[in-house]
């Protein structure tokens, strides 16, 4: 095995990967659908270590065996089952999934926007579209990855609610709340959850090298900040070896965030 360079002991991208991986701790045998390089690495790290029963897709139409490096060519993947889109919806609606989507905007109540910036009928900026976010967020655990935490991404109110947050789910009734579970938000600055009495966003941990004030300054709304909030945990030496020599020796992880 290649010798591991422990300097630095943990980069920002690696903190983000650990934070993503932790979202799937104790998840059991469920399908993980990570969007982006860092959530993909988090899922592979979790599957390789503390969450071996996770089910990963190949990003196309199959489930893949193991947790291969992120740069693995499609022809080299070993697949275990077919997972065409039609079957994906069977999984979504059965609840056996915890997705981590990206968010162009996210707000205090956990609403996510990937549809449009501005008025939807005449958008200032057209984004990709709501995709599966409305259905995902009311059917199974849903987390978000935001690689650029700023006051433009962490906003008071998103422009078009694609993924449904807590207050909106509650207002929509039991059909929406029954399986609704916006679990985590991981950004390049920290980790957030909604474990507050009114299910608004709370700082769960700040990444090493980030000050809580930096997070407050990059967020447009008031975050709940527990007095005893901790730093995002460091990777173990085994996790670092796995990340740096096996899962991502080409450091694709560093391309997704500004450090």
């Amino acid at each position: 095995m290649t010798a591991v360079n422990y300097d630095p002991p943990c980069t920002r991208a690696e903190s983000c990967i650990i934070a993503c991986a932790e979202a799937w701790r104790d998840a059991g045998e469920i399908m993980v659908s990570p969007f982006g390089t860092i959530p993909s690495l988090g899922a592979r790290l979790a599957k390789s270590t503390f969450a071996p029963d996770l089910v990963l897709t190949d990003g196309e139409a199959a489930l893949m065996v193991g947790a291969p490096p992120v740069a693995t060519r499609p022809a080299e993947l070993i697949r275990e089952a077919a997972m065409p889109y039609k079957t994906v919806f069977d999984v979504v609606w059965s609840g056996r999934r915890h997705i981590m989507m990206m968010a162009s905007q996210i707000d205090r109540e956990g609403n996510q926007n990937i549809s449009a910036i501005g008025d939807h009928s005449h958008p200032k900026v057209q984004l990709i579209g709501v995709r599966g976010a409305p259905g995902n967020s009311v059917n199974h655990p849903t987390s978000y990855w935001v690689p650029d935490h700023t006051t433009r991404t962490f906003v008071e109110q998103v422009d078009v609610i694609s993924g449904v947050g807590y207050a909106r789910a509650a207002a929509a009734g039991g059909g929406a709340t029954r399986f609704h579970d916006v679990r985590r938000v991981v950004s390049n600055l920290g980790v957030f959850d909604f474990e507050t009495p009114d299910h608004t966003m709370r700082l769960r941990s700040y990444h090493p090298g980030v000050a809580v004030d930096d997070i407050v300054g990059a967020t447009s709304f008031t975050l709940t900040i527990p007095a005893d909030v901790e730093e995002t945990r460091l990777p173990t030496p085994e996790e670092l070896i796995l990340l740096r020599t096996v899962l991502d020796p080409g450091s694709l992880r560093d391309r997704e965030i500004k450090r």
Partner: protein
């Protein structure tokens, strides 16, 4: 048995302005691009498209053929956003009925099953319901005293009633098809193509190669023949007919031409140059231009 072979021109001839047309595939994957280009060249206008949107939507918007799009996204996969779609939306040129991906599936399924709607949680609480004020909710008729209620939380529950998305016509591209109109998909995902066909009045397949009835098992398993002839009215052989979108195992996405397509957005002169070389040409010329391009 009738021979369903036809031509792209004959298919276009069966379509009318103002129609609602479903297009198979997903994003920039296995789109019936030869027929889409012919639509761009036609005098049809004010079309409503229903699609898991990719460059089919972008091209038709750029060609000014589209009044409305029913979709969940428009993406080129390797390029996240189709800039032609973005530009059409930001200029207010097209209307959109934007719904969750699963809602689109259920709308097609409802039409294919001839029921007016199917219930779903998808959409509840989201702005899908506010930006589409015509969408309605439905309350389960099964209350707490019903013998069918497995979980009390399901009693009287309110869900989205996704309406049937009826299509005037559906266009789908397959790897192989036979003369009778059976279609075979050799790639990893059939997407929702059988449902697009099932939801439509007039159903057309384009395909890489048409073979004799009964010969589809020569190249792939019978289980890949997911489109049976009860779902089709016409089939046309269009070699490389999904190009530049991905159509494995016949060919992958032509990333280079897709980039050129994307770069032509927003600049009328660049679009004209692209369209004159890759849209306003016959299929033979298109293939020749693609070959010339990859040779240089």
């Amino acid at each position: 048995m009738s021979d369903k072979r036809t031509t792209v021109d004959a298919i276009i001839g069966e379509l009318r302005s103002g129609m609602t047309i479903g297009i198979g595939g997903w994003g920039s994957r296995r789109k019936p691009m030869a027929i889409v280009r012919a639509l761009c060249r036609s005098d049809l206008h004010d079309l409503t498209l229903v699609a898991y949107g990719g460059p089919d939507v972008g091209l038709l918007c750029a060609a000014g053929k589209v009044k409305k799009v029913v979709c969940s996204f428009v993406t080129l996969d390797s390029i996240a956003l189709d800039p032609h779609w973005r530009s059409a939306r930001q200029r207010g040129q097209v209307e959109v009925m934007e719904v969750d991906e699963g809602m689109l599936y259920q709308g097609l399924q409802a039409a294919a099953w001839r029921v007016p709607f199917l219930p779903t949680r998808a959409g509840l609480g989201s702005d899908v319901l506010t930006i589409n004020p015509d969408l309605r909710l439905v309350r389960s008729p099964y209350g707490a005293d019903s013998p069918f209620v497995h979980d009390p939380a399901d009693a009287d529950v309110e869900l989205v009633a996704m309406p049937a998305l009826h299509l005037d016509a559906a266009l789908v591209h397959t790897n192989r098809a036979d003369t009778a109109g059976n279609g075979q998909i050799l790639g990893p995902d059939a997407f929702f193509d059988p449902l697009f066909l099932g939801a439509a009045d007039r159903r057309f397949l384009s395909t890489e190669r048409v073979v004799d009835n009964g010969r589809l098992t020569d190249e792939g398993p019978l289980s890949a023949v997911v489109i049976h002839r009860l779902l089709t009215d016409g089939v046309v052989e269009t070699p490389r007919g999904a190009h530049f979108t991905a159509n494995p195992p016949d060919y992958g996405r032509d990333e280079s031409l897709q980039k050129e397509y994307a770069a032509a957005a927003g600049d009328p002169a660049q679009w004209d140059a692209f369209a004159s070389r890759y849209v306003h040409v016959s299929d033979d010329e298109y293939r020749a231009h693609v070959e010339e391009r990859s040779a240089t």
